[in-house]
């Protein structure tokens, strides 16, 4: 903990400062090369889905911002063919889910949606971006989760057979093989799971 962080804690503003700190989307684009490695070296194919998870804000302005995200994604659909759906999960978190077989279009659309929220000053509400991959041989779905709070990726592999269990060996493998290409969160205490509401489905379904 740095001196400034310590001082913020002593003054009782650390919680406030961190909760309102803007999103850090700088390392999001690491995925633009990493997905090739995922496919070629590790046998994980993109499922054609990516999603942006964020916390709701109880205000009119926020709903305006959401409308803006929707219209930007609609406009993008004409060019890239990326389809966007909007979901709310059981926790009341909002998801923008993007569907496209072209992985780079997915990444661009995620970036557009995140950027719009950052520009509307809601960057601090962005929780994570998820990119879904699947190993066809073992039915194991894994996610690369980008934490906008930490500015880093981490792997999340829910066990397909056991509810609320993680496949730690798959996560370890992803971490060790993509550590050079992605900024991976080094403190595993921040590798938060995003459990699906129903086992076997995506967290946003």
């Amino acid at each position: 903990m740095g001196l400034l962080d310590g001082l913020k804690s002593v003054l009782g503003v650390k919680a406030e400062a961190d909760a309102t700190r803007d999103a850090d989307p700088d390392d999001l684009f690491g995925m633009s090369t990493a997905y090739v490695t995922m496919e070629a070296d590790l046998g994980y194919e993109p499922t054609g889905e990516a999603a942006l998870c964020f916390a709701d804000v109880d205000s009119t302005d926020f709903r305006d911002a959401m409308d803006e995200v929707e219209s930007i994604l609609d406009a993008g659909r004409v060019e890239t063919g990326t389809r966007a759906t909007f979901e709310t999960d059981d926790h009341g978190y909002q998801w923008v889910v993007l569907h496209d077989d072209d992985f780079e279009d997915l990444l661009t659309s995620i970036h557009f949606a995140a950027d719009t929220l950052v520009e509307r000053r809601y960057g601090s509400r962005l929780l994570a971006a998820l990119f879904a991959f699947e190993d066809a041989r073992s039915d194991q779905v894994v996610y690369w989760v980008y934490s906008f709070r930490r500015g880093a990726y981490y792997p999340f592999a829910p066990d397909p057979h056991d509810d609320h269990e993680r496949n730690t060996s798959a996560e370890f493998k992803l971490d060790s093989n993509l550590g050079d290409e992605l900024t991976v969160e080094s403190d595993k205490e921040y590798w938060y799971p995003l459990w699906p509401d129903r086992p076997g489905y995506h967290p946003w379904e």
Partner: protein, 292 residues
Amino acid sequence: MEWQTDWGLRGRMALTMFLLFALYIVFVGALTLYFTNLAAIVVVMGLFLGAQFFFSDKLALYSMGAREVDPEEYPELHRTIDRLSQQADLPKPKVAVADSRVPNAFATGRSKKSSAVCVTTGIMNTLDQDELEGVLAHELAHIKNRDVMVMTIASFLSTIAFLIVRWGWLFSGGRDRGSQQAPVIVAILVSLVVWIISFLLIRALSRYREYAADRGGAMITGKPSALANALMKIDGRMDKVPKEDMRDQAEMNAFFIIPIKVGWIGRLFSTHPSTENRIDRLQDLERELEGR
């Protein structure tokens, strides 16, 4: 969305801590004049409080009859705390539940990694999901602001002052009685004054930190109104049923110029700000959200 900085709150908090610090400096200075073995006292007390600090998380949970629960037992509670810690950029704290009908929640632990959040079964039954999130976010804000550490350090010398007031006379014995008597009484008086002032300052600091945790919590959830609702609900339930006969009360109150608990004396001594004041401030945050 940009929140305004509450400079008033920060200023009052900084001033309180500065006054406390200045008071303690004077206190230590005064003590060195009267006690040659002061270093020994401080070291022993330091060890004692260090141990208390170190075991504070277990101690607090134990005294509430709380036990740590795993995700299988309380999946919803765990998932809520997962998401909130993620939003607050905090490693997930331990989760504990106390079997009590009184709606209550607290956070404990000396560091981010050893902290725990505890809720009573009563609060889970009383509040809906949004309100519970508001309360949990408030507790996470306490952890982020390291309130256990700050308050332990703030009360360290206050405790020493109290002990000198209580046991200082022990030092008055000894061979050269006549010459030592007066300074010890002075030291006890100094300690008494320090203790009273520091007590009030610590209580003020505690109230400011509650406001700070309310702000932090509201910013984590983005819903100041949820915490406000929770506070109203909890406050309603916590209404104390008076035990004394009304007629006795009326007689007693006649002796007080300002009835205790409602006047400024009551407020000066309490560790938490009044619910109305907290709700007022949360409403300010709600208005900020709507850009007004």
